[in-house]
Symmetry: C3
Subunit: 283 residues, 3 copies
């Protein structure tokens, strides 16, 4: 098998995730601003349908998708209810991936996961990640890399987009702002242990098919588990959606315990939605 093709010189990959929606042209305006800085950018939309100002959902989706891109990719993410306040903007580089966006926790899950995959454990302290050696971060405080004048309501177009395009062009992080060794993290729901064998886990995502993603990491799930989800009891883990009828539990493609109804919607059939909990019994 041949080695992976490399990008031609000067072409760079950049992923883009927002809560802007696609009916307005906010996404287009940011792309225009980036292409004005670096016209040979290959921009890949992750999604622009994060629910408005839902930072947690944006952080989960960014974590799921970013890890599948090759090293060298720049990831721009903007879900920014605090735009125009004094929340910081940051650039964070880990394991060959560089993340650009507001320092409101949006980037924190992705940074932690890429770190873990590279063997870098990133300690937490209160609501912060403490960035160890191997994780570089700067606070954005160099206006010469921004689009002027900066609209106080649209840092995506005027600050984050242009900075991300400069990063993709190879501008060193050190000139984009001031070094920092911490960034905000979001609280990620954890499984709650009730008794030795019994846990509650929260549903953190519902996808288009009605599949329910829980907060239980796949590596914690043991094969003989039993799940009580709404009125339904599910025993054991399946390998696939296609092999059985009725609700099944499996480790989904993002690495968490997932509940699905093959050919149907688990959300609809079990009457469950994001934020609800299911009970798990594991030996």
């Amino acid at each position: 098998m041949a080695a992976p093709a490399s990008l031609p010189p000067g072409r760079n990959l950049l992923t883009f995730l927002t809560d802007f929606g696609t009916a307005d042209t906010y996404v287009g305006a940011v792309k225009g601003a980036m292409l004005g800085v670096h016209s040979n950018l290959a921009i890949v939309d992750l999604t622009h349908e994060i629910p408005p100002q839902d930072v947690l959902q944006g952080a989960l989706q960014l974590m799921s998708a970013a890890q599948h891109f090759p090293s060298g990719t720049v990831h721009l993410a903007v879900v920014d209810p605090g735009v125009g306040t004094d929340r910081r903007g940051i650039v964070v580089s880990v394991g060959g991936h560089t993340f650009v966006g507001p320092d409101n926790g949006l980037l924190s899950f992705a940074v932690s996961r890429i770190g873990t995959q590279c063997g870098i454990t990133i300690p937490e302290q209160g609501d912060a990640l403490l960035l160890p050696e191997g994780v570089n971060a700067v606070v954005l405080d160099e206006p010469r890399f921004w689009r002027q004048p900066v609209a106080p309501t649209f840092h995506g177009r005027d600050i984050f987009g242009p900075v991300a395009a400069h990063v993709a062009r190879g501008v060193p992080m050190a000139v984009l702002g001031t070094r920092t060794d911490r960034m905000l993290k979001l609280p990620f729901p954890r499984p709650v242990r009730h008794t030795r064998h019994s846990w509650s886990v929260e549903i953190v995502q519902v996808d288009r098919y009605g599949n329910l993603t829980t907060c239980l990491p796949g590596e914690m799930a043991r094969g003989q588990l039993r799940i009580i989800a709404g009125q339904v009891s599910i025993t054991g883990l399946q390998q696939t959606y296609g092999s059985t009828e009725g609700p099944v539990a499996l480790i989904g493609s993002a690495g968490f315990l997932e509940i699905a109804v093959p050919g149907g919607s688990a959300a609809a059939e079990l009457g469950l939605q994001r934020g609800d909990s299911v009970q798990i019994e594991m030996e």
Copy 2:
């Protein structure tokens, strides 16, 4: 007029059609996996809003769009209710276009149409297309071209996407799997003849404007036809949406008889939807 520009060496076109939706980041994950194999790929989204697991609708949309791309394009399509079961994955090459996806009929209309346009008739036998000389196909059974480990629920990211990227890079089909001379086809609704002059035709698509696409191929429609659609009777074929008031019949851009209401929605005004039938009288 100058000759069409060619792609720079190493850049390849790939279209992408799924039922993944655009709110989740499944589409982004597949793109990441493909760009990891072939980073200079130009990916064009056809649509990701095929109704979940609606293989027929995916097959119709792929047929409509694929033919407009230049020779040399790779088409990746994933609508895959059988993911993780023993349905096969295939690559099919015809007339300079290469299709990659599950062998569940999704690719069959597009392969037949491109074949027809190249003068290749592809015979049918039961629920299969029998692939003649000039149509090459392989079953995907070479895991070294897949992303490892393969998630049983996400062959789009782990098998079809990487394989499509390898095809676009120029990996010969023969090394991707085992040669096959048949693929599954979907039943396409045909006009049903009632009397010498009278037919029923099914509505196979309703678009954003409420235009109704029927299964009657344009070449079967004769000018003096009369259509009874819901409570309405339409006489003759128009050349355009813009020239008259009220419901009109015309040959739509995909080559089938279409019913439209200029400036309005035929679906809403006639109370018709996909799967309904209209009556046609032709001399």
Copy 3:
């Protein structure tokens, strides 16, 4: 700071805005037709969710987004209720930007704004823009640059798309059609003055967050203004969404007076929608 990177030879930027939606494959078909003419085109979607046949909304969105792209960009826009009638197709070049689409007013706001930014005032006469020196336009009447046969219902795929791709490749405008010195303009709502200090302004857009964009240009808004919007009174202009509670007024990112509810939806909380008016008192 390094100079902006330039596109590699032969790669060109093209933006694309329509009312086609993204569930059908109309957008994909146009892209295929364009890439058949110029396969090294970098296509950026502005939006395809303009409400069906809503030319005014398309014109506003195109104006908002096009200005952020670098000089040299081609902008293809298709919202075309008159497709197949005798409305003209045009190409208009101003300030390094080239616009392609139907001559139904869709392009008029963007052409005027780019003109203004380049110091070119474009006079109006009735429902026309009179194009002065520095603004070049041709009527599309050279079928050899079109895809044949031209479907009377799909000029986006068969005329505008191919022509835009030829423009991006560098085909001179003069060979694409006949020179013209006028194009249709849309009426843009203007603030209506009631008394010396009192105005009515129309809401021209509601975005995904429920922010209300009015027709009052930012440069007309004076700081001590008071807005009566529905049951609510707002005093003064804020610099940002983030700094206060309740409804605020500010100059939005497109340059017009905007009403927003930080963390909420102004449209929902004030019960206002597109087409409604708000009252403004300015000293």
